[in-house]
Point group: C2
Chain length 323, copies 2
């Protein structure tokens, strides 16, 4: 017998994908941030994200509203990663019968809040009893405007790897909270991540952005997914990681490097994308101007090797593993 | 503090629904079997159903494929209940790291099988670790052909309450298995329920079918939902329950009546509907002819009272309670 731990998340997903059949209405099945579906003259993006108590979150550490926000942000970020516009959410909740109804309502309010923040609405769900902890599954249905969307595949040799915003802050916020270090900006990045909806649409509208993903399991893993799905490798340089004063203050206390948090920190919900080197300078300047948000080049895609290199070497730490 | 047990499933749902905002694209929000959404020129039906180990199913008792089939049938049946055509499924799965990958693959194969059986495809999902038991959440996206669908509301005073197929068999199959009684047809009804997709479409296409629901928590509760949402009451007569030789054989062993299973037995996934008394005789004959399946009149809707009556009295047992 082989267990889930033996074969890992991706090994298991490979086995399930092998069971599935094709359909002319399915433009993209499993393997990207969202499935892409044809419905009449529209192109829909659908995704779901399961959050489990004591795996993805702990109660008590954060406000219930934060837990709901964070759980739903994961799916909204998947829509952003394809350049889509989120529209509808379904929320399944399971909880023990003795759960405080106010607490669970708070979690659901967080889901409603982040949906609204992103221009979407909660339209339904399911509520049932759990014999273990709280379970939250959020499904998001979005639309690809004018049928335009970006996949993980499509990066070309020589493309630059760029990452938006503040990757690493969420993981650092989690650690700050664990260690009782006062770092409200980082903790907020962990519990109230901002799905990069407008940024994703803006990037998707550009022809020089060839592939895109959201950073949910750390830049190493997620840039690795871009490379793998594009049949390429990606070489990153640690010196390219941007200064982040908030993160630097934490590093001084934890003794870890900014790079640690950026490369392997999960749940950042920033966007990582492959962009044409000929135009990326102007494009990234325009991005910063438009959104008042950093975006940095962390590496380059290549057909000379596979996998991920950091400063020429294979990274020793891979980021979040689900099993 | 009030708990989920204190306020119940519907009490909690009422609190969540109060948080939601409207949208012109949402034709029907929470409160029916599916949400009804406008996407371009199409009308979509979406629903999700969460199945928890040791609440909705036990491992070992059934083949993994059966557990997956049953979990996904719940959502497919919700699409049937509105007269829709299921198209796409998303499946979220959580399981402990030491779970046998073959077993979990079997559960997923059951989902894929029932989807295919109903003309739909699995297009994505999520896989993650659970610290408790296995969790399965299935979202189904369907379409309402030509924008036509049936709600729980819409029953009129004097309408007949009719129920398709074999309500009660699923609950009886569960009990047979619990007690070690050999009753393969009943056990199959429990683990391999048939979502009534074709039947739902056929009924929805008729103007004399005014309201519809699937029987997931027993006829008393679900016919009660039809009545409540239509602002009516419904009076059932226990003598109307059809003979079912398979069920009768079990009743002889358990000492319970066929009515017990039919009125309060959950997970039947039959359709209950309100139909015009003037045409229902011919309609039900045509239904039996078309599908080779029983359909019986169990009661009548009325504006003279609220709630559910059986033989003139309020039922003592209500069927499945989620908390």
């Amino acid at each position: 017998m082989s267990t889930l731990r033996d074969i890992g998340e991706s090994g298991f997903i490979d086995r399930i994908v092998a069971l599935l059949s094709a359909s002319p209405e399915v433009i993209e099945g499993p393997g990207d941030d969202c499935a892409v579906l044809r419905v009449g003259d529209r192109t829909l993006l659908v995704t779901c994200d399961l959050s489990m108590e004591n795996v993805h979150f702990r109660r008590g550490a954060a406000a219930p509203e934060d837990l709901g926000w964070k759980a739903a942000a994961a799916g909204l970020s998947d829509i952003a990663a394809m350049g889509g516009v989120p529209q509808f959410l379904l929320t399944s909740v399971a909880a023990p019968a003795e759960t405080d109804a106010d607490e669970l309502e708070g979690i659901c309010r967080g889901v409603v809040d982040v949906a609204q923040h992103c221009g979407a609405v909660v339209v339904g769900g399911d509520v049932t009893r759990s014999t273990g902890g709280i379970v939250l599954d959020v499904m998001v249905i979005g639309e690809a405007p004018e049928g335009r969307f970006r996949l993980r595949s499509g990066a070309k040799p020589g493309d630059m790897l760029a990452v938006t915003g503040w990757p690493g802050r969420s993981a650092a916020g989690f650690e700050a909270e664990e260690r009782g270090i006062d770092a409200p900006t980082l903790v907020r990045a962990h519990y109230r991540p901002e799905p990069r909806i407008r940024e994703g649409r803006w990037l998707c509208a550009r022809d020089d952005v060839h592939a895109m993903i959201d950073v949910s399991d750390g830049v190493v893993q997620d840039a690795g997914h871009l490379a793998e799905r594009s049949g390429l490798g990606v070489a990153m340089t640690s010196a390219s990681v941007a200064a982040d004063p908030e993160l630097a203050a934490l590093c001084a206390e934890t003794g870890r490097s900014i790079q640690d948090y950026v490369f392997t920190g999960g749940e950042a919900y920033e966007l990582a994308f492959a962009i044409d080197p000929a135009t990326c300078g102007k494009a990234l300047a325009a991005f910063r101007e438009e959104f008042g948000l950093p975006v940095v080049i962390l590496g380059e895609f290549s057909d000379a090797f596979n996998g991920v290199l950091i400063d020429g070497e294979a990274p020793t730490e891979r980021g979040y593993e689900h099993f």
